[in-house]
């Protein structure tokens, strides 16, 4: 009993400690972002690698999700004779919810885990240490560009996801199930509002990008420098990002809905 309490207390303490480290880490990362202004090439390279890592899986997933939405939307709408609004159902679901959320989950699995593993390996093989001894700040050289690249890439990837998804819905709804093509697009245009829908989707994916990149680079940097440590860091990255994104999505949706 005592030992159970003890273990619980120990666990609680270590959670708070690592949360504390994560926030200090974030502060130093944010502080280091400024140095990227004189070295934009570092950022561009990371943007390229994060984007290229994730683009294919995002496009393919977006297509499938859009096609499923086309089916499901049609099945429900046709009962009410309202299948012309399929376009707006597909687009709204994607732009508001599925685009940002699914993109963030896929990002965590593809780019986030890769970032954590890469940074964790650099730590384990003393590359970060040797950088410090060469008077090069790893926060500026390694962490900050990856962090910012993740934040910037996320909304772009989410936009690509939604765009492909809208086409997927079109293939199924219009191409397969015979919804009128003209009304698919016009309903979509009429119902999707820039501020309420597109902008709120963009804000969501920027927030998700921030959290997903933070978790990934922190898990890598904080990894225990062993092979188990790296594998734990990559797993944690995916699990924590998924939980954080879903919880934040609930909170953000609530805030945007009430506003």
């Amino acid at each position: 009993m005592v030992s159970l309490l003890q273990r619980l207390g120990h666990f609680g303490l270590s959670v708070f400690q690592s949360l504390g480290r994560a926030h200090l880490f974030l502060l130093r990362t944010l502080w280091s972002l400024g140095s990227l202004t004189w070295r934009p090439r570092l950022l561009i390279r990371e943007l390229y690698s994060v984007g290229v890592l994730s683009l294919l899986i995002i496009l393919v997933s977006g297509l499938f999700v859009g096609m499923v939405l086309g089916y499901q939307g049609y099945i429900t709408l046709v009962n009410f004779g309202a299948e012309e609004v399929l376009g707006s159902v597909v687009a709204l679901s994607l732009v508001r919810e599925l685009g940002p959320v699914v993109t963030a989950l896929l990002f965590a699995g593809r780019a986030g885990s890769a970032l954590a593993a890469e940074i964790g390996l650099m730590k384990t093989t003393e590359q970060l240490s040797s950088m410090e001894m060469m008077a090069v700040d790893p926060y500026k050289r390694v962490i900050a560009p990856r962090f910012l690249a993740g934040i910037l890439a996320m909304p772009l990837l989410a936009a690509a996801f939604s765009a492909v998804g809208v086409w997927g819905g079109y293939f199924i709804g219009v191409g397969l199930l015979g919804v009128d093509g003209g009304s698919y697009w016009s309903q979509m245009q009429a119902s999707v509002d820039f501020y309420d829908d597109v902008l709120s989707g963009i804000i969501k994916s920027i927030v998700f990008g921030f959290v997903a990149s933070w978790i990934a680079v922190f898990q890598g940097y904080d990894a225990t420098p062993t092979s188990e440590g790296i594998s734990r860091a990559t797993t944690n990255t995916v699990v924590y990002t998924a939980l954080a994104v879903l919880a934040l999505d609930f909170i953000l949706t609530g805030l945007m809905f009430s506003a």
């Binding site: 590359q127 040797s130 410090e132 001894m133 060469m134 008077a135 090069v136 700040d137 050289r141």
Partner: protein, 273 residues
Amino acid sequence: MTTERSTAPLIEIEDLHFRRGTHTIFEGISLQIPRGKITAVMGPSGTGKTTLLRLIGGQLRPDRGRIVVDGHEVHRLARSELYRLRKRMGMLFQSGALFTHLNVFENVAFPLREHTRLPERLIRTLVLLKLEAVGLRGARDLMPSELSGGMARRVALARAIALDPMMILYDEPFAGLDPITMGVIVSLVRRLNDALGLSSILVSHDVPEVSSIADYIYLISEGKIIDSGTPEAVRHGSSAWARQFMEGLPDGPVPYHYPAPDYLDDLINTGKS
């Protein structure tokens, strides 16, 4: 002692205390490292030799005591000053710690690209000069994964001298090398020290190699300095521990056995852990 900068010791360590958790690593170490010489710090694995180098480089903070490098107290420096000091320190990590995504040339060029705005032609010249010094000019296009352990260490050495430092910290430069490569590294350490007018701090447990090139040796064990002097003096010194270490005898003041309960009792009590 004179107060002149050039004759003052390069590194002065006074009353250094350092702990990791409850484990005491240094318990009041004081030592001086002169300029232009090869000074070795020796001791068994796990005594804290790597830790000592990290303390000197300012990556770890001592619990007590001070470390002065070239007149600067390392742990009082602001980050920018510490970084300025580190540009004049080269450190050779035991693993080499080469950047795995860059080839040999780019690894050596890395500190130059980070800290200077030299034109590409000049960087190329400097990199080839450093690679030539370690005999690996021909390996410039290889990736770190294609190098043997000894080659990786030489590339790391070329990178460590890229900015023409005043000193090099070597962490176990001889560990795990075949005899020929070992000989190459031994002579390289000596040649670089003399040709470039560097000061070298060498941390190692390889007695014969260190004895053959070090000008002065500090022996540490269990957080204290056990003995110091020229290799000759330490080998014939008064300390029985030092003699055991230098001769490599399995038993002596340092027992062969890790502390354990009585052997027979241990075998009989099978039930308990």
